[in-house]
């Protein structure tokens, strides 16, 4: 089957989305950010120039503009590039976009997509390494999508663009070069369907975004120690597929959650709480979390490596879970 790099799959999706629907506009399209692949973006610029806006550096302003345009019938995709910049747009995203549909009694739809690069990127320091998805998960009214593979990014981006809700689309720069199978004419991937990225019987390892790739390496390594890991990727946080996770725990009875948001009130904390509420009786060991330590992200390479959900920390948590 055909193989694509993550960034190629993402651009194929954008191209198909924009070709199929004239209402899709790109606001601030620097989708590949500082990556060496950013030239790919120029092809879109040639094709859809009149539907692309390069606004001033004003996240609050251009996110608000996109939200208003969505209310009035367009389907904008906004790129915030570095995810931390969504903090600059908080009033418009969290207070306006997320609430409009509910507050209007279902009369005003806000079909807008906010694209973010989250996470530890190598020297981003505290202001360029944010993973705001757990804070956004605390805001009802936003769908949250978090792909981890080329096939997923394409299928999920198509669903995001077709959604009538404000959708947060969270990417990781370290995924851009990851390669994987992407069938031609692949179907959009529905929200709320977790994907089992590797089958296993000893422990359920739940992971998101780039951490899925790290966990697949850990699983391959620990297979040599006869620990058989099942890697489950929820793919969307809102809606959330708890059923697939519980079914996996039925088999393994042990859970480790690895994710790059900060530990307190993070993605892993929420998933752990849901499992504890609905699947406590299936567990033979405490749920273990491997999250980014609760400190502002430091710049220096060994410090950054130390705080993230790296292979060493995930491996240790899995061994502890099966011990």
């Amino acid at each position: 089957m055909r193989e694509l790099a993550y960034y190629e799959a993402k651009f194929e999706a954008l191209d198909e989305i924009m070709s199929a629907d004239e209402r899709v506009h790109l606001i601030n399209g620097t989708f590949l950010s500082l990556s060496p692949h950013r030239h790919v973006y120029q092809n879109l610029q040639k094709k859809f120039a009149e539907r692309m806006v390069a606004p001033p550096i004003s996240e609050l302003g251009f996110c608000g503009l996109a939200i208003g345009a969505a209310m009035a019938g367009l389907r904008p995709i906004v790129d915030l590039s570095t995810g931390s910049f969504i903090y600059e747009a908080w009033p418009q995203v969290a207070n306006e976009a997320a609430n409009a549909y509910s507050m209007s009694g279902g009369q005003t739809k806000v079909p807008v997509v906010f694209h973010l690069f989250h996470g530890l990127r190598g020297g981003g320091a505290a202001q360029h390494s944010g993973s705001p998805q757990s804070m956004l998960w605390n805001v009802p009214g936003l769908e949250i999508v978090i792909p981890s593979s080329p096939r997923d990014v394409k299928g999920l981006l198509k669903t995001a663009a077709a959604s009538d809700n404000p959708t947060i689309f969270v990417d990781h720069t370290r995924l851009l070069d990851v390669r994987g199978e992407v069938p031609e004419n692949d179907k959009p991937i529905p929200f709320g369907v977790a994907d089992i990225k590797r089958k296993g019987s000893d422990v359920t390892l739940i992971a998101t975004s780039y951490t899925v790739q790290v966990c697949l390496k850990v699983a391959a390594d620990l297979a040599k120690e006869k620990i058989d890991i099942e890697v489950v990727d929820p793919r969307t946080l809102v809606p959330f597929d708890l059923a697939t996770i519980l079914a996996s725990i039925d088999k393994t009875h042990r859970v480790v959650i690895a994710d790059e948001t900060h530990q307190s009130c993070g993605v892993a904390a929420e998933i752990a709480a849901r499992i504890a509420e609905s699947g406590f009786d299936k567990l033979k060991a405490p749920i273990r979390r491997v999250s980014t330590l609760d400190v502002p992200v430091p710049y220096s390479p060994p410090l950054e490596e130390h705080i993230g959900p790296n292979e060493k920390r995930i491996g240790a948590a899995v061994r502890a879970a099966v011990a």
Partner: protein, 339 residues
């Protein structure tokens, strides 16, 4: 034109400009060799603003700066060893490796916080100015940012506060228009700011504002000294936009050095690639300054070369120090995040 200062002081400004230029050019080399990996921005080409403007300040004034901060720190006298070490993520860095290029600070020199968020510092500068006024300590705040910062809502909100409260703050906007990322070019209507010229924005909030040539150290010095005097007299905030042409090696986010700077380039650019020659001939503020020193009989070419040799040696030693400095222990990541 040369600043109206005694010869000794003029030579000191020259030395500081060389420090910035050779620091930055050496930094590009370290990045190219893979010694560090974080993204960084060059200040080359803006030395006449940084060095001349900061020379008008008192030692206890506050400064806020942003992603293009190396020049400001060095112009103010920060130890290049420690700035290099910070950018390399080493334990001897200004911030012990926790901040990197974006966030380097030097509280003893007035730099309490450096932000990589465009416009993040502008409201903060009204805060230190507010405190200085409340504490009646006469300390001024200088807020240094690019034209792109004016595009964020934080800027007009802060101008409004500074103006209403008559705060002792100088907003110093460095517009490296020609190749800069902020895109507010000097000559034509900006594609990113409807308030144009940029000085219209602070003026709407009754903050006196002017635009000047940021390549001209003498003009920068005269303008900033006068603005600083007015602020110290209690007249409230002032805004100055200095216009510069971006260093030809920093058109992209991945800087290069077209030709390592050397005093001799002030008179002979034949060794420079054709594409960048005009910049060295007519734009480079360091070379303009060097030519003015010689033409004004303030120094000989030999004297200037001697200063430059000494600076180059200092910078080379500083880089060596930083490369030899160890990384912090990984566990350091878990310390020092609460006072």
């Amino acid at each position: 034109m040369l600043p109206k200062l005694p010869r000794e002081k003029l030579l000191d400004l020259c030395r500081r400009m060389f420090v910035i230029r050779h620091f930055e050019e050496t930094l590009v080399g370290l990045y190219d060799k893979g010694v560090f990996g974080g993204h960084y921005h060059l200040y080359c080409g803006q030395e006449a603003t940084g060095v001349a403007a900061l020379s008008c300040l008192r030692a206890d004034d506050y400064l806020f700066t942003t992603h293009r901060n190396h020049g400001h720190l060095l112009a103010r006298g920060v130890d290049p060893k420690r700035l290099f070490a910070e950018i390399l993520g080493r334990v001897d860095g200004l911030n012990k490796g926790k901040g990197g290029s974006f966030h380097s600070v030097a509280p003893s020199l007035g730099f309490l916080h450096s932000s990589g968020v465009v416009a993040g510092i502008i409201p903060l500068s009204t805060g230190t100015a507010y405190a200085s006024k409340a504490l009646k300590n006469g300390r001024l705040t200088v807020c240094l940012f690019g034209d792109g910062s004016l595009e964020e809502g934080a800027a007009p909100e802060a101008f409004n506060h500074a103006s209403l409260l008559k705060l002792p703050v100088l907003f110093l906007c460095e517009n490296n228009g020609k190749y800069g990322a902020g895109r507010a070019t000097g000559a034509a209507q900006s594609t990113t700011m409807a308030a144009y010229p940029l000085t219209e924005l602070p003026k709407a909030y009754k903050v006196p504002a002017q635009q000047i040539d940021g390549m001209d150290a003498g003009l920068v010095h005269a303008t900033i000294s006068e603005a600083v005097e007015k602020i110290r007299r209690g007249e409230g905030p002032q805004f100055v936009e200095t216009q510069t042409v971006r260093y030809p090696g920093s058109e992209t986010n991945w800087p290069t050095v077209p030709k390592p700077t050397d005093t001799s380039l002030a008179w002979d650019v034949s060794g420079v690639p054709e594409k960048a020659r005009e910049w060295y001939r007519s734009c480079d503020p360091v070379l303009i300054y060097v030519r003015e020193l010689v033409d004004g009989k303030q120094a000989t070419k030999e004297e200037i070369s001697a200063i430059e040799r000494q600076v180059k040696a200092e910078i080379a030693a500083a880089a060596e120090f930083a490369v030899a400095s160890p990384y912090p222990k990984p566990e350091e990541a878990e310390t020092g995040y609460f006072a």
